[in-house]
Symmetry: C2
Subunit: 319 residues, 2 copies
């Protein structure tokens, strides 16, 4: 929730000299977004999002993110499409930051999705997994289980100040994940952050997916586990089995899960809940200085995690 980098009109004009976008008639910083600075840019030709990559995003990863959006958009997947300048470059510099222009995606997020919207989301995720095939840059998931011990260590001694027995929960769940994490299910490009605010709807249809800045190579079914965490809980953090079945069924209509994937879904769900619990817990305990963000409550994910501990394939619509 912040514009981190101010862009002057002069700097913007210099940046845009390399593009053919026409006259600028709107330039507004967008609230929301923790990792980067985003502006909505309107010109006589079209609307665009201008992103300045802040320090939390590694510059070495930018060719992956931008290349992936390009790859997906070219294959007909509805996502922001990088705009190239006259030199064919999609990545430039603005106010001392790496910066990219992408197409503006119409639509808006839903706060309380219906099962039907969950089904569309599942279908779209499977389409993303299909469209990601053949993308030849790789990115390791820094927030995979191998990255969790550091996050557990940095938060464990203060975790019980946030919630009773939270330290025990994260230590035990880390151990469980390390013992049970699969190693032989299908991998590919995953979004890894397909929360409700990253999926847009328009006129009752899913209009596209944004924010690929956690995308990476990992288990495809783990992406679905993240989406179940994001889409299938109510305001009181209660699991919504009908939403989950719809999401899973929507996914399977495009890409049926293997039996191995279905078997380890409860483990992946616990892992996904732990991953968001750990990053939120660390952000909660150490709000970054100058971040101007309200940290998300980590308890929303400990609540999910405890429910997933006893979930069955049948409850997930995977009978």
């Amino acid at each position: 929730m912040a514009v981190y980098t101010e862009v002057s009109d002069e700097a913007l004009d210099v940046f845009l000299e390399n593009y053919d976008l026409g006259r600028v008639n709107m330039f507004k910083g967008i609230a929301g977004g923790v990792e980067n600075t985003n502006y909505l840019l309107g010109t006589e030709k079209n609307s665009y999002i201008l992103t300045l990559y802040e320090k939390r995003v590694a510059e070495a990863d930018l060719p992956f993110f931008i290349g992936l959006m390009d790859h997906l958009a070219t294959r007909g997947f509805s996502c922001p499409s990088p705009i190239r300048n006259r030199n064919g470059q999609a990545l430039g510099m603005l106010q001392g930051r790496p910066a990219a222009l992408v197409s503006f995606l119409q639509g808006r997020e839903v706060v309380h999705p219906t099962p039907d919207q969950c089904a569309m989301t599942g279908r779209t995720m499977a389409q993303l997994h299909r469209a990601g095939e053949g993308f030849d840059i790789k990115r390791v998931n820094a927030l995979a289980p191998s990255g969790w011990p550091t996050l557990v260590t940095s938060a464990a001694d203060r975790a019980n100040s946030v919630e009773t027995n939270l330290a025990e929960l994260i230590v035990d769940e880390l151990e469980f994940a390390q013992a049970n994490w699969p190693d032989d299910i299908p991998s590919g490009v995953i979004h890894a952050d397909m929360f409700k605010d990253n999926v847009f709807f328009l006129d009752g249809e899913l209009s596209g997916v944004i924010d690929f800045y956690f995308a990476c190579n990992d288990f495809l079914a783990y992406d679905l586990a993240i989406a179940i965490n994001a889409w299938c809980f109510g305001d009181n953090l209660e699991f919504l089995p009908e939403h989950c079945s719809a999401l899973v069924q929507g996914y399977q209509n495009i890409r049926p899960l293997t039996d191995g994937e279905a078997d380890c879904m409860p483990t992946l769900l616990r892992g996904a809940a732990l991953r968001f619990l750990l990053t939120r817990l660390n952000d909660w305990l150490d709000v970054p200085e100058g971040a101007f963000v309200i940290p998300h409550d980590p308890k929303a994910f400990s609540a999910r995690l405890r429910q997933f501990q006893s979930i069955t394939r049948a409850q997930l619509g995977l009978a």
Copy 2:
């Protein structure tokens, strides 16, 4: 720099049921703006700004602000125009807050205005003063000299922690203003905050003025004094006489200053600098909790104030 109030898609839909704006295809919180929450709303018909009025804005003042924009827009002044719902109301409730929709104004601010842009700003301010005639709601300027003693008192004992001799400066300048403030120059509706971020340019022309939430009834020449503070200083806080002459001349091309107004301009300039110094200083010393704003540096206005202490009519282009 914050969205203070989140608006859910469901609440927005209920709010918009009373309007005829068509399908929503964009809804983005706008960064920037300290007093209120602003969203950019795009529909198939047009673009709008949706403002939710936060606690810092008195609800009793809203009919003045909205009525003024309506009054000015009706008279051909380019500013956001309030959109009425089917019941003829321009003010509604959304997420428990008073809320209003206004038309979206194309253009963008300039960071380093040219003298020509200053002249356009002066001309536009005089047009605003003319267009404001006949508006029958009144609003006292809460930040007129009568409001300054409270601000001096609350900051004086800590002012020298911000800048050497700042306490003496504000006490002395308050005394100077109280002794020399005019009482017989022309009054009317003033914008009272026509800083660079509130004036938009498009295609080399001034396209309009936004943010009327400090507007009030006060001396017309005081509004010009505020604009000189805002538009006529360089990056090193040096006074820019060419910019000032252009601004003043642009204003006078539409509404010539009376000799009385010209005479007291140095006093008004010091007062305007003191007013922004005092509010910034108080914000600087007491950053509001949960505000998520970076306070502006008050020293930018003590530097102006010290320069205005010895300024002459001639240096202002008022020979």
